[in-house]
Symmetry: C4
Subunit: 297 residues, 4 copies
């Protein structure tokens, strides 16, 4: 049989970008969750908290492997829409691809650590108790935490993430060296997880939390993964988005609006004004359809 790879080529640029988001998010979540599974099911004998934190950082570097402009996070994609760096029509496909990647990653981790999870939990998949395994996949609040505290926690964490990432790549500023963007973003994520994950696990990313939670729902943990802690699951969806918007606002106030105007050819760069005034997408400075820098485009 002759196999012509060209027949498998995806013609839509958006579809190829979504494939990159899917694959990048899959690998990011795969590293993070399987490290958590390794440390948990080995009862800390084959790794430690720091290994999990470092694995997320590696996941970020590798996630950029498939697309130099990867978002890997619906909250990031939303902010890039607001900043005019992504079309609004691309937002939903991006988010769904990220969510699907997170779901598939969780399924892969469940398969990979099925024997270990069954051995560790005594065969009962639970959300509470000393042998619970739900925290391998999704985030949960610490016992002492109030609802407001957990919301604030995710707002500050994701806000810090966005403020730092956006400042990193602003071209009119003294930008970070392009070769080091991926490692530095990984360092930022590592720093946030090392310093802001005690309260409720530093999801920072709606897809990272919701995707694995949906996997647990379908894989035997039951509806408790959504009802537990008084339906807490909405916090790591809504709070990171709120935090991302807050971080983007800080970036605009502290950095973007303080920078000199761009050269004349970009002078009609009124996207932000228009956006805030009308909510309508304004395509100035967006690359023509199909010219984005996704690895798969």
């Amino acid at each position: 049989i002759m196999l012509n790879p060209r027949l498998l080529r995806v013609r839509s640029a958006l579809m190829r970008q979504c494939m990159a988001e899917f694959l990048g998010t899959l690998v990011l979540i795969l590293f993070g969750l399987s490290a958590a599974a390794q440390v948990t099911t080995s009862r800390q004998t084959k790794g430690q908290t720091l290994s999990i934190h470092l694995s997320w950082a590696v996941g970020v570097i590798v996630g950029f492997d498939f697309s130099s402009g990867a978002h890997l996070n619906p909250a990031v994609s939303l902010c890039f829409c607001i900043l005019g760096k992504l079309r609004w029509g691309q937002l939903l496909p991006y988010c769904l691809s990220q969510l699907l990647g997170a779901y598939v990653a969780a399924a892969l981790v469940f398969a990979l650590y099925y024997d270990a999870i069954m051995d560790f939990s005594g065969g009962v998949l639970t959300v509470y108790g000393p042998n619970e395994t739900a925290s391998i996949f999704a985030t949960y609040p610490s016992e002492y935490l109030t609802l407001g505290g957990s919301f604030l926690d995710q707002v500050v964490g994701t806000g810090t993430l966005l403020l730092c990432i956006l400042s990193l790549t602003e071209k009119r500023n003294t930008p970070a060296p392009p070769d080091l963007i991926a490692p530095i973003v990984a360092g930022i994520v590592l720093g946030i997880i090392m310093s802001m994950s005690a309260n409720c696990g530093a999801a920072l990313n709606p897809a990272r939390d919701l995707g694995p939670r949906l996997l647990m729902l379908t894989a035997g943990w039951g509806t408790e993964v959504f009802t537990c802690y008084n339906y807490w699951f909405w916090v790591p969806i809504v709070a990171p988005i709120t935090g991302a918007l807050a971080g983007t606002s800080l970036y605009l106030f502290f950095i973007e609006w303080q920078l000199p105007d761009e050269p004349l050819e970009n002078k009609n760069n009124c996207k932000l004004k228009v956006y805030y005034a009308t909510g309508v997408n304004f395509p100035a400075r967006l690359p023509p359809e199909g010219e984005s820098k996704s690895a798969l485009s």
Copy 2:
């Protein structure tokens, strides 16, 4: 409502530089203190001493994010004034911005970990005892330490920091690759914290210690944060400055004065001689007002 971001633009170059120092110091201290809060309040279950040390290093990298020439430290700003790389008139605004950034960072960490700190401490904010939480924010001497020992500790630590940083960027030398300045400085800070924080916590930076201490004063720890250990709080203010001056002197003797003269156009580079002779600021080689490389300028 139409929002024109240009109206929010800060016109003073100095003010924009101070905003960069404020933001950079805020993020630096935010990473360091919240990592300490995470490790302390989780009783080492969600991190370890090494996580705190690594978080400070990440904070340094991110602090440079907002200004490629960020100081983030009053002792560094002072030395840069002495070396003619910062105007004396800029020193106080820089230091106040750094102090304010440290204060706001501490306030943010207090809000972020309020539930955790209350749970950990049983609701009583103290400086001494097994459930003390003051050491999350500020530095304190070990029990065995004499006053002279703690002073020497901070002098050597900050002296090492300045000697290494200044040598790193000397342009007539074989300088470190510009792209790697931020990671290497982060590595230096990591090394100093890993090796010289046992005695009294490696403040290395008056703003890093005084800002959070002021926050504790206003947030419920009381005046004990200043009176404890026989009014020890002045050491991490005065000793880092002394050490920075010592490190700068070593740099001058071992590096700067050993280097070949600069090309002729910079020949009238007598700032150091003049400075030592008169204490008057000599503006040779300073960029014209408003041309500095701050991210926010």
Copy 3:
């Protein structure tokens, strides 16, 4: 005596490439195994699990030291043959060199830690029990693990490795910066070991497991190193190869086939089609004999 180094020069380019593979694999395995020996024989007092993981990463960076295109892994060499980046005739010499390097590395570690191993094990070299020392050298399955589980584990681990590595260096994509290839590959290996070594040790590499196992057979552990766990030794040979092929397929589907065609001069690039159709080696795009980029060529 006059020594003319030119007389020692190996004339065959393939032989020199094999020397590079031998030396690179030797150093890679030397770092990994001796770190395991250090942590095991010191009963975790002179290192921890994370030290072992980090040592493998250092080994990868150093392994690239001797050849910028080093494979260091028979599964990688096989995939490079399939992708037309290595001649089929070079495959066996490459694999044997890698196996020999792994064997010699294990012998060196045995010599280096002979006193320590004898002290730790009470002089009896065993595969089972609290003082077993076989797991310093080769990988073994966890008790809870089914055969299918351990096979899947190695398939996913090695598949992730190949998918990430191949995507990293694709030139038509936005490739990783060449200077950072070695550190990023080391990061990927670190991530996989931190997150996927709980089940059966993350061999990921037939030579890494078989070489040291052969050393143990000849050094006193006896045939049990092959018969133990129901002749499990074939899994870390066959499963990594299967996983490497799976990862390569994912790479082809998700990346290579989605990329734009290469410029016209490479248009007759039908190697993949031909390969899948006939299994016959097709040398398009292979460098002329002796022009490969091995450090030793």
Copy 4:
């Protein structure tokens, strides 16, 4: 008083190079020893074995800060003489500068941790026992270790170091990116310390061990630091030199002699042949006096 820094300028290029070796070795040893002091005197509460290992790596990066061609190690300087990259007449001054740097670093660490060492040891400076503090400064063999085993250990460790470093910088090979030389060498040292320090502490460097040992002799530990373990102190002096020569030989055989000849202008590059035949220094390819790349030259 007018201070003219030019009067302090050292006129001899060799003297300036020695100042760079002194300062670089001082900082390298300062980081390593003070991290050991921090971890030991805090009884592992303010750091762990991995912190010490990482501090040595930071020390290497910082040591290169003062001279891009820093050796920081008498065994390295010797090999560079053999390879014709350093004049034989420079060897002794280099080694003495390195030894002096190590001595001063140890003195600084003793001052820095004086209170802590006195508290930890109960005021008695000893080489043996649970409260011994000698191992903060110098290396000692594990109890199980034979003399041959400890000699081999240092030979293999230092041999690996030299083989890797020399291969890294060979210009006719595919060399490591110049910007990353310092971090990669730091990684190599980190890897060797993480994997080969269990037996006898991985001195790898005669100055690193002898300098601090001399400090202990003069600071109150007494002559036992030299007589202990049956006058073992000579091993970390002689074995690293032996290992460095072995590593250099492997480098010559596996890399240098396999590389293509250099272009014609360097054709009279017979230094190695001459060296091995006569032991006489042959200055081909050495830079003219004063043109070396030392930061201080």
